[in-house]
Symmetry: C2
Subunit: 306 residues, 2 copies
């Protein structure tokens, strides 16, 4: 099994390292961290794995340098404005390459499916707290579960094989036959907590939930309404389950807040924008989501003014 990981941030570094640790041949495409990773590899510090020194088989500036096309290419970059995912994948994909997306968001597969219509497309999400603290330095704080499924549905042999490799590495990896529904399910949590942490100016999830639970629930319910209208009904108790599990979490700083405060592009469009566009196209009422989306756009406009 040959794997190419595009992106040596927190997610790419961590999930690449897990495979390499199993003896799998893993190369990486590094962008801003190329020089450091080429020289020093990637150091993972993990509560689960301890310290691990990930030395990729090859460290490339771009997939064009590849001698041989991989069995899997893992695209581990955030879906944000300015990231040209098709261009990043172009030279990595041969006739038998499976494309694996590990990212947040709704409706993030269509663009890739259209660009590579003859390749298997595996859509994935990571449930993890992991941070790139410096070039080539990754701090795995908690969790790590993966969900992988073929787009738009099903579970292929290659998807099962990848799940198996992660299971052997000690990560729980769910092979999901309905990954689109799984994305909506994750959006139930992301849609309120990510933007509200930014718009509040930096509140932890616990403070948001304690003081504005009805508002959080209203946003979650609207995500469920869109999912249902699009033929991906979520479990009846999903809002309750998300509220209860958030209540049990320690105060948590969302990834959108970290991105926003660091001046990086955010996943606003992938998480909120695409959900809102889906709701509009389906003609369902989503006024709370629309409000939060509009405010995130205003907040980001203001940030762009410096």
């Amino acid at each position: 099994m040959k794997v190419l990981v595009i992106g040596t941030g927190a997610v790419g570094g961590f999930y690449g390292a897990l495979l390499a640790k199993q003896g799998i041949h893993v190369s990486v495409v590094a962008r801003s961290d190329y020089d450091h990773v080429r020289r020093h590899g990637i150091q993972i510090q993990s509560q689960m794995m301890g310290g691990y020194d990930f030395r990729p088989a090859q460290v490339l500036r771009s997939a064009a340098e590849l001698a041989e096309k991989p069995d899997y290419v893992l695209l581990c970059i955030k879906v944000v404005e300015g990231a040209d995912r098709v261009a990043l994948l172009k030279d990595a994909v041969g006739p038998d390459t499976s494309i694996v997306l590990i990212c947040n968001g709704i409706d993030i597969e269509g663009e890739i499916a259209r660009a590579f219509p003859n390749n298997e497309l595996i859509s994935g999400m990571a449930f993890i707290c992991v941070t790139r603290t410096a070039p080539g330095k990754i701090w795995h704080q908690a969790y790590g579960r993966l969900a992988l499924g073929n787009y738009p549905k099903g579970v292929s042999a290659k998807t099962k094989a990848l799940c198996g490799a992660y299971e052997q590495a000690g990560i729980h990896c769910v092979a999901s036959a309905d990954i689109i529904t799984a994305r909506w399910q994750k959006c139930v949590w992301n849609a309120p907590f990510n933007p509200l942490s930014v718009l509040s100016g930096g509140l932890a999830t616990s403070d948001i939930l304690v003081t504005q639970e009805p508002f959080v629930r209203a946003i979650m319910e609207e995500v469920c309404v869109i999912a249902r209208a699009s033929g991906h009904s979520l479990p009846d108790d999903i809002v309750e389950v998300n509220i209860a599990s958030t209540r049990k979490m320690p105060p948590y700083t969302t990834s959108m807040l970290l991105d926003f405060e660091a001046g990086r592009p955010t996943e606003t469009e992938a998480i909120l924008g695409n959900a809102v566009r889906a709701g509009r196209a389906l003609g369902v009422a989503i006024p709370h989501l629309e409000s939060v989306y509009a405010l995130m756009k205003l907040r980001e406009l203001r940030r762009s003014q410096g």
Copy 2:
């Protein structure tokens, strides 16, 4: 005509000065600016009036020091948490004193009407850009129109007399027989632009309108729905008129943004909270307003954490 102005901020200083300039006997209760105002009075710098040195008949620390109850007491303080308006008025109000409130907000009269059931209550709003730049220093930038009306409705002889005094001072002062409707009318503009300027992190009204006009309109429409449900229908074209006039305004920094950024209490409850509570009591759907209100509460919670 004897007048007592409580509050020597921008509004109290400016509207007190206008009466004093007409030769009316105007005393003031100064709170934080007492020492300065006692010694130096209040200097107004106004495009309309030029420079004017307002020397109040008396400068008091509290109304308890008054020898004689005034004909009018103008309460010129923002309706914010921690401001005990009844306590400030208590010693100022004799049997024949008319209480005049000049402030923003919805449903801000009830508390005063209940505390002083036998006094005439005049409810007023100022349409003005005016700033207190330092203790006793007031900068009048633009506009200045007043609307005054008896609460809950009508226009008394004393209200007309006060309007007349302001008209003589060169200010347009509308005697409104339906001041509650006039408050809803002002809320149509305040409800979107004040909180959106804060939640965006400081956008000017022009940027908000250009990029999120449908969202602004949705909030405005909900204010109209509440007003109508409470028996105070607004003109059919009020949203259009507000959008058009905002489009013509120069980029404008709202008072709520100035208060928020200076660390002062904001009028969130008076403007948004009271509108939302009115909507809830009437059972009308106001999801955009509820969203904006919830987010302002989160933003202020975060600010309070320092």
